[in-house]
């Protein structure tokens, strides 16, 4: 890609590399899903193109559902790249570990609402972690707005299972990243979630999460037969 010539590597993640670039005068991020040498070419191509398509679709559908996400400028499936808007801001992961308890509660509640908005439209993020949430701090209209990014593992699904897994993964991510206060975070997130999806669905999803946890290996709560 020509744009890469004037780009700076922002982050080399496990799955993709992010480059800071310029898109007709706007600051942009180029997300490239790098080929992985360790897996067969057929599988590699399939995974990369599939995730590029899904990510682009979900980035768009999230906005329709009322969840802020970066604007898409260009998608190239065969190269597995997406050029998107650059969000000026901090990761929620860093933000949560430095703010007050009240602010943490407010942000978690808000995150729960956003997930609820996605799930209400049957959109599954697929990789909900506090690294994939950004709090914008540019000086224009995005100030303080929470953006969701990295929809590569996302899907559209009406199944309760998908929603349950989505939140279960977030819970697990909180446990490993914010082990000191993950419980209150998750409680607040779920409160926000319930506000949006309604008590009935929230209860069902909650039961599903417990079911998913019991299915896992070496879970103490799992009933013995």
């Amino acid at each position: 890609m020509d744009e890469l010539n004037q780009s700076v590597l922002l982050k080399k993640g496990a799955e993709a590399s992010l480059y800071l670039s310029n898109w007709y005068g706007r600051k942009a991020v180029i997300k490239i899903r790098d080929p992985k040498k360790y897996r067969p070419i057929v599988l590699d191509r399939q995974i990369r193109s599939y995730r590029t398509i899904h990510e682009a679709q979900l980035l768009h559908q999230a906005k329709v559902a009322g969840v802020a996400s970066p604007l898409i400028y260009r998608v190239n499936v065969s190269e597995a790249t997406i050029v998107m808007e650059y969000i000026e801001g901090v990761q929620v992961k860093q933000y949560l570990s430095r703010v007050s308890k009240t602010e943490c509660e407010r942000v978690c509640l808000r995150i729960g609402e956003l997930i609820g908005k996605l799930h209400r439209e049957n959109l599954i993020h697929g990789d909900l972690t506090t690294s994939n949430m950004l709090i914008a701090n540019d000086d224009v209209d995005n100030q303080g707005k929470i953006f969701l990014v990295d929809f590569g593992l996302g899907e559209k699904s009406v199944e309760l299972e998908a929603k349950g897994v989505d939140l279960h993964l977030l819970k697990r991510a909180l446990q490993s990243t914010h082990f000191a206060f993950w419980e209150s975070c998750f409680k607040d997130i779920f409160m926000g979630y319930r506000l949006v999806v309604g008590v009935e669905l929230a209860e069902k999803v909650y039961e599903k999460i417990i079911e998913i946890e019991k299915r896992g290996r070496y879970v103490e709560e799992r009933k013995q037969l």
Partner: protein, 345 residues
């Protein structure tokens, strides 16, 4: 918690005997506190057909226990009176098997009047990997018949960054092998049989690839692989190859994610499935790409063994961790992230 760490010369003459009995292997290992393995003796239960029957495996363990113990002590050339403590795998694992090992351990400890140390089996797999490879603070992929998880040390404990949402990788390969009619042979685990067949596979058959966040799911892959074979028009070799490529790519991807997330400088592959050369090659490629050191546990210590329990027991004991006999109940579902590992600080 009392820190009773002694100097290295003391450690050399202090010994820990470890008993492993979580599943089909009954193992006894003896180490000194410096990490020299004096013996690693094991006797495995081989089912006539099907998978491990917990009660039958436990019966096997009870039958061979004294023989294995004697052989270990002779091998190591030390007297029981020289032992500093007795370690045993307290979980996770199969209840009847764990209880058999625990009974032997309790009897020894109370007879010799030395401390008993309950060890988490998963942590033992990580610790033996570190001991044998020199890894210090790695992202560990632990894959075996009962476990599939990616862990890394973070604030007092080995945290689980990714794990299977259903069955374990080794279990997936075992069940597949049995289902397609491979026979159990002593010295050749099912996983190795699948590996050999996979080498002859040529055609890549698309199967479900399920990575959810940092976790993965293998049950759908197992079903799809067996159904693919039933449907015909493909060879067993091709299915073995494709099954391995999918399953290993999934655990490799999760490991890579944990590596990027934690920014650790080492990767460690441990557990029974670590013996698979294809899986080793995949992880090595990832390590190379991220510029980190790749470590794989030697084959001898990849499967369940007593030495890893003994070594982990000696580490725990050094940091004052002992298990009073009256509190030495086995824990069938003892998660790795429920255990403090003070020796890592």
């Amino acid at each position: 918690m009392v820190n009773t760490q002694k100097t290295s010369s003391d450690n050399e003459s202090r010994y820990c005997l470890g008993i492993e009995s979580t599943a089909d292997d009954f193992g006894v290992g003896i180490v000194n506190f410096d990490g020299d393995i004096l013996t690693n003796t094991v006797d495995s239960y081989v089912p006539m057909e099907g998978g491990i029957h917990p009660r039958e495996a436990a019966r096997h363990h009870a039958e061979v226990a004294s023989k294995v113990l004697c052989r270990a002590l002779t091998d190591a050339n030390i007297k029981v009176r020289d032992l500093t403590c007795i370690a045993f795998s307290m979980g996770p694992g199969l209840g009847p098997c764990l209880r058999t090992g625990a009974t032997v351990a309790r009897a020894l400890a109370s007879y010799l009047q030395i401390p008993l140390v309950g060890v988490n089996h998963s942590i033992a797999h990580i610790e033996i990997g570190k001991l044998k490879t020199g890894a210090v603070d790695p992202v560990t992929l632990y894959v075996s018949g009962g476990n599939t998880m990616v862990t890394a040390f973070e604030s007092k404990r080995y945290r689980v960054f990714g794990e299977t949402l259903d069955i374990a990788l080794g279990n997936c390969l075992d069940v597949f092998a049995r289902h397609v009619g491979l026979k159990n042979q002593r010295g050749l685990p099912f996983g190795a049989a699948v590996e050999q067949l996979a080498l002859k596979g040529k055609n890549f058959i698309p199967l479900p690839y399920v990575v959810k966040g940092m976790d993965l799911s293998l049950s759908g892959l197992l079903t799809a692989a067996t159904m693919q074979l039933q449907r015909g028009n493909c060879t067993l070799e091709d299915v073995c190859y494709s099954l391995q490529e999918h399953a290993f790519s999934m655990v490799a991807e999760v490991t890579e994610r944990a590596l990027a997330h934690t920014e650790k400088k080492e990767v460690l592959l441990t557990g029974g499935v670590a013996a698979n050369k294809r899986l080793q090659a995949m992880l090595e490629a990832i390590a190379e790409e991220h510029n980190v050191r790749f470590n794989v546990v030697p084959q001898k210590f990849a499967t369940d063994n007593g030495a890893m329990i003994a070594w982990t027991g000696s580490l725990a004991y050094t940091y004052g961790i002992v298990t009073p006999i009256e509190e030495s109940y086995v824990k069938l579902r003892w998660r790795v992230d429920k255990v403090d590992v003070p020796w890592m600080n």
